[in-house]
Amino acid sequence: MLLYVVRRLLYAVPIALGVTLVVFSLVHIAPGDPISALLPNEATEEMLQQARKEFGLDRPLPVQYAIWLGHAAVGNLGVSIGSGRPVADEVAAAVVNTVILAVSAGLLSCLLGFVLGMVAGLRRDGLIDHLVNLFTISGVSLPHYWLAILLVIVFSVNLSWLPPLGVGPDTSDGWRPDWAHLRHLILPTLATAAIPMAVIARTMRAGVVDVLDQDFIGTLRAKGLPPRRILWHVVRNALPTTLAVMGLQLGNMLGGSVLVETVFAWPGTGFLLASAIFQRDLPLLQGTMLVLAMFFVFLNLIVDLVQSATDPRIRRS
């Protein structure tokens, strides 16, 4: 097990390096000059050259990459061209907001998805299974931004129950789990959780159905185990796959949803990414993408480790 952990950690290093290369290349391959967006139209060629030199954009790309990577390694992601503030600070603030939303939506989707999937799988082809099926097919099929707009129309505009925008009052000590903040969290949570919940429920259902068809269920029955003990075996067998899917879904949510965050004006990473793109804010875009990509590398690592701890067959391969 320890050997597996070490090996898996070593694998993560080249993956992370590859990610930085892709992030850097993507941003620089994309058309458009950030400097011309920053300076007024009547700026002279001399002024443009001067600005490029200031931001280090006049050097060869490999050199720019090496410098950027060196700075990124010590947490310096440069300065936002748009706001003039350090990229690291901007990203950190956005990450906090996205994490709040992701944890809230993650808890909801994992718990509900797990329970719905399990019940549907145990009652295969029963009424509950068909209802859950309908629910989850709707969940994966509805565009989440559309659901977000619908939630705003119903609960904010028509019913006036919940606020449509923002994270809540801007208090000095930041976000707190009080009602003033939580009521802003409800609608974004529902919109964010819908798809992951449906995906998790479908995975869990498929896992449970698959396990129930296996020969060893017959053995457990022939041993005289009561249904709840057999259920424990079913869950333990269906869990590794479901955990992996939960991890990836949580990763998606931690990445922040550009569309949902835009609809609710939720100042998270998705929102930040969108504004960086519109403002051609190269350092901000690079920094945000890098942090998000690293999130995914880290999350995949955690998922693999948890999975290998729950399924002995993975450790061997």
């Binding site: 296996q214 020969d215 060893f216 017959g218 053995t219 457990l220 029955r221 022939a222 041993k223 005289g224 185990l225 009561p226 003990r229 075996h233 333990r236 067998n237 590794p240 729950t310 399924d311 002995p312 067959r313 061997r316």
Partner: protein, 355 residues
């Protein structure tokens, strides 16, 4: 005279009531085209400590009959008629809580494929211990200690390490030994084995078979053993019941049925076995394929393939008729020499295991 009385080691138990008593068992499964009758009236009984081999081809209903004994067909959605009594309790009407006590407690079950029949994400030791805890109500520690002793019983070396192993870490032979340990963990009176050696290598097969016979004799456990392998049957059986198309067609002492078969189907089966002196000779063969149980012909279901078919075979489904004491066949025209001990001096009556 009862054939069981001719076997000395079974002597004291003969007077007791049968441990297993199956009467008029009929099983149907729901398919796309309605119910299909896969077991069509099976009667069996077995005294404590004896071994019965259910012999037959795939689809003859032998495994379904076996799974009916601990009531496993309930969870499969099958329609079960008739009675299955184990030690006087009727499994078909037993309340669920009582049925759970019977399964794994009084009746142990060994499956064919030890790889898929063990839970892949639980340690072997835990899978055995949970059975013991369930039935005995002892502590987990005590149950693990019992599991350790069971591993000695089934001759698994390095028991401590193997108890902590997962099923995929053991060889097929070791897995099946662990399966036997699990089935024997609560000292059942009746052991049910569904082709337990079929999935194993030939050399491992015989080891596991001998182990099973040894344990079963040592502990006085009765056993119903399902197989399609005549060699395996001859090795382990006290009694044999041959199944064809959901019914028993011949039953009796192992020697009677295997050496002096009277039903044409059993005769055809025994003709297919390779024996030393028959090398380079053409084997007997049975033409045709087993019938589709959902579309059986009228009359005897074996008649279409039967070399000794007479005209009346196509009209009447034959009842059992006694051919010798304890030896019955469901055939209108049984053939072959009788197994009556008085007519064949020099062959010791009873056990077929001497040869």
């Amino acid at each position: 005279m009862n054939v069981q009385m001719t076997i000395p080691e079974a002597g004291p138990r003969v007077a007791t009531a049968p441990l297993l008593d199956i009467a008029g068992l009929r099983v149907a499964y729901r398919g796309l085209a309605g119910w299909t009758q896969v077991v069509r009236g099976v009667d069996l009984s077995l005294a404590p400590g004896r071994t019965l081999v259910l012999l037959g081809e795939s689809g003859s209903g032998k495994s379904v009959t076996l799974r009916a004994i601990p009531g496993l067909l309930r969870e499969e959605g099958a329609r079960v008629e008739g009675h299955v009594r184990v030690g006087g309790q009727d499994v078909t009407t037993l309340p669920p809580a009582e049925l759970l006590k019977l399964r794994g407690g009084r009746v142990g079950f060994i499956f064919q494929e030890p790889m898929t029949a063990l839970d892949p994400v639980f340690r072997i030791g835990d899978q055995i211990a949970e059975t013991i805890v369930q039935h005995r109500g002892v502590s987990w520690r005590a149950a693990m200690a019992t599991a350790r002793e069971l591993f000695d019983l089934v001759q698994i070396p390095s028991a401590e390490r193997r108890l902590k192993a997962y099923p995929n870490e053991l060889s097929g032979g070791l897995r099946q030994r662990a399966m036997i340990a699990m089935a024997m963990s609560c000292e059942p009176e009746l052991l049910l084995a569904d082709e337990p050696t079929t999935a194993l290598d030939a050399t491992v097969q015989i080891q596991v078979l001998l182990l099973l016979r040894e344990i079963q004799r040592e502990r006085g456990t009765a056993m119903v053993f399902v197989t399609h392998d005549l060699g395996v049957a001859a090795e382990i059986a006290d009694e044999v019941a041959v199944m064809y198309a959901g019914r028993i067609v011949e039953r009796g002492g192992a020697e009677q049925v295997l050496l002096y078969p009277r039903h044409p189907y059993t005769r055809a089966l025994t003709n297919c076995v390779v024996q030393g002196s028959y090398r380079d000779q053409r084997l007997g063969e049975l033409s045709g394929a087993p019938p589709d149980v959902s579309r059986l012909p009228p009359g005897c279901s074996f008649a279409p393939r039967c070399p000794a078919r007479a005209e009346d075979c196509l009209r009447h489904e034959p009842d059992f008729r006694s051919l010798a004491p304890g030896h019955d066949a469901a055939c209108l025209h049984p053939s072959g020499p009788s197994a009556d001990p008085s007519s064949r001096p020099g062959v010791p009556a009873g056990s077929p295991k001497g040869h």
